[in-house]
Amino acid sequence: MTRRVVITGIGVRAPGGLGTKAFWELIAAGATATRPISLFDASGFRSQVAGECDFDPDFEGLSPRQQRRLDRATQFSVVCARDAIEDSGLDPGQLDPATLGVTIGSAVGAATSLEREYLVLSDSGRHWVMNEDHLSPHMFDYLVPSAMPREVAWEIGAEGPVTMVSTGCTSGIDAVGYAVDLVRSGTVAAMIAGASDTPVSPIVAACFDAIKATTPRLDEPERASRPFDASRNGFVLAEGAAMFVVEEYEHARKRGAEIYAEVAGYATRCNAYHMTGLRVDGVEMAEAIDVALAQARMRPDELDYVNAHGSGTKQNDRHETAAFKRSLGDHAYRVPVSSIKSMVGHSLGAIGSIEIAASALAITHGVVPPTANLHEPDPECDLDYVPLEAREARLDNVLTVGSGFGGFQSAMALRAVS
């Protein structure tokens, strides 16, 4: 008998209000949290808006030493993991540490700290060969970001499998998928899994400026992220994190845990086409969806909601729409599809986990979060994207998908547990 895997705890830090409750209230209200970049001086950059978190490490209970040592994305990971554990009611002290693991996804790891330390070591770029006197003792942790899952494992006392999954913008789905595999196979009883990225920094902004992937829109920053809208012209860079307690069903049931949803299916595929480009037919994303649904024993017409990647680039939204039609057939036109990136932006590797959180909360609340800023759909994006306002609906079966550089396409199917 296959072991079932469920989500029993959620911790989120996303733009527009910190904590899982604030996150859900924001997206259920269709409110947006994109704003002019304040984390660095973005004048001179093509794109100058972002989804930023007003993250206060003191308020979050991080020690001075943790604040000094840990990269911002790692700090996000630690506080989200604490929240997820508390939310799940799991007491790690009661578990055999060997049966508890950690998997964290991140696209760019400790990019923020790398850039800060680069400026110190090179004297703002003046020196190619550097002076070791200015070397931070924590620099190795920024170069090699597996410090992120390590820190969470230390925090909760996990001694099972611990790793980082870094598949660019599908990291947040793939990290949870990795954890689900380990729980299902019986390797562990529970995993802390999720993703974190804090890329609102000059070097990452410059990367996306160069390939014109982020929006150059300067007016109306709160309306900058416009997935599926005819006027969309790029995504809005963001930061954030979401962590989960992913647990074997019987284990959760025996301890009387509340269950958000079952992770019923997961698959990832790559397009073998281009590092940044997408084939218009969406065939590889469709393949990932088909495999995830088959694993979940879910028929396409049973889906009640699709949480889209919906980044708001011209090519993504069409690619994804094609993939939904290919996988779901006529049901693609009936099922509500929405992109929360319209509200919280695109936090690269983290967003996949934030979207899993949105999907699980949607099931719990019986509410489909909307696509904000969608006033005039692109004629080539002709599905029901739930414009502007959330909808109440009973959600039993939900699909969430991600797509990213490297050609990676991932899909995860969630099911309500009665």
Binding site: A107, R126, V129, D141, Y142, G157, V162, A210, H274
Partner: protein, 409 residues
């Protein structure tokens, strides 16, 4: 019945050699491939020695369009993957593209490329940053580029767990085979010997500051004083046993078992979990002992002692031959584990255990039968490979030759 993961192709790019046979010859000879770091003036740096690849000519092996968009680490991965796949002899059309995937580990991103782009950004402005920085830097770049070059649309992945990540990646590829993929390209690569990457690697204080390449990295030696970082890695082409049998593909051996554990926070008073990783990996492989252990060999006294104790606990005092060929070429980060797996498969092929260069004086209380000085000729059917990543990551993997069992499906 679950599929076995057969190794049907392999390639290596390491300081010890750019082909399987060159690497094997260097390793058997116990040759030193460590030297003063080149490419910039490191005379002001505390660490001077590295295991660098000397004669890698990317231009000779890669389409010119790939060069401006790739860091050295990606070029190493691309060239090595092509060699490994050629060895696997998979013809176009043999396998569906959705049945072939790629999983690599990488821990340091595209360091040299990124260093150049950081400098451009901060000295000239954002408009100067290359369009290729958006992916040449990130940890998944090798997976993406290899999948594109070889038209593989199946399950893909990229893991970061410092030195342990390479074995975790091979294990993930094996899991995908068991789920139904027919061919997985896997392994790991790292390279960070630009002035910034090299300095960053030294920040944790575990690198050897010695000046003599023959005395810099002596794992398990009483006089051990750190390790030497290296660059490169290996690619293994895994194929489902049934698929390999159907197309009569010869196998170098099987990825038979794996486990990963994590050490408790320093100061917690709890013991290392390395022993448990070894036991779980052997249980997964269904073996009660192995013929050789390829040790992680951290080169840090406390960590060497922990590893020696774990091996002694499982196999008994001097109960199994142990070796560390990496003493000759350095710790390769994400590439280290895969290179050891490849070397272990060659040990099985040729019935010989390569030596541990440089180490001479192993404390008796380690209880280790460390293969020193010269190769040891003996039958090798199973090998255990250990890799530990900075921070507490333990990964253990068992490979098995298939001389007798053949390729079970």
């Amino acid at each position: 019945m679950s599929e076995s993961a057969q190794v049907v192709g392999m390639g290596v790019a390491a300081p010890s050699g750019l082909s399987v046979e060159d690497h094997w010859a260097a390793v058997l000879a116990g040759r030193t491939s460590i030297g003063p770091v080149t490419g910039f003036d490191a005379s002001g740096y505390p660490v001077r020695l590295a295991g660098q690849i000397r004669d890698f000519d990317a231009e000779a092996h890669l389409p010119k369009r790939l060069l401006p968009q790739s860091d050295r680490v990606t070029r190493l991965a691309l060239v090595t993957a092509a060699t490994a796949l050629a060895g696997a002899d998979v013809a176009d059309g043999d396998l569906d593209s959705f049945d072939q995937g790629v999983v690599f580990a990488n821990a340091q991103g595209g360091s040299a490329f990124t260093h150049r782009e950081f400098r451009k950004l901060w000295t000239k402005g954002p408009a100067e940053v290359s369009v290729y920085e958006s992916f040449a830097w990130f940890y998944a770049v090798n997976t993406g580029q290899v999948s594109i070059r070889h038209g593989m649309r199946g399950p893909c992945g990229a893991l970061v767990a410092e030195q342990a990540g390479g074995l975790d990646a091979i294990s993930l590829a094996r899991r995908r085979i068991r789920e139904g993929a027919r061919l997985m390209v896997t392994g790991g690569f790292d390279s960070a010997f630009d002035p910034w990457g090299f300095l960053a690697q030294s920040a944790h204080g575990r690198l050897s500051r010695a000046a003599d390449p023959r005395r810099a990295y002596r794992p398990f030696d009483r006089a051990v004083n750190g390790y030497v970082p290296g660059e490169g890695g290996a690619v293994l082409v895994l194929e489902a046993g049934s698929s390999a049998r159907r197309r009569d593909a010869p196998s170098h051996g099987e990825i038979a078992g794996h486990a990963a554990t994590f050490d408790p926070r320093p100061g917690s008073g709890r013991p290392s979990t390395l022993r448990r990783a070894i036991e779980l990996a052997m249980a997964d492989a269904g073996v009660s002992t192995v013929d050789v252990v390829f040790a992680d060999s951290a080169g840090v006294p406390e960590l060497d002692r922990i590893e020696a104790a774990a091996i002694e606990d499982v196999f008994g005092r001097r109960g199994v031959p142990v070796t560390a060929p990496k003493a000759g070429f350095g710790r390769l980060g994400a590439g280290g584990g895969p290179v050891d797996v490849l070397t272990a498969l060659l040990s099985i092929r040729d019935s010989v255990i390569p030596p541990t260069p440089h180490t001479t004086d192993v404390p008796d209380d380690y209880g280790l039968d460390l293969v020193l000085d010269a190769p040891r000729h003996q039958r090798v059917e199973t090998a255990l490979v250990l890799a530990r990543g900075y921070g507490g990551f333990n990964s253990a993997l068992v490979v098995r030759g298939n001389a007798k069992e053949g390729q079970d499906g």
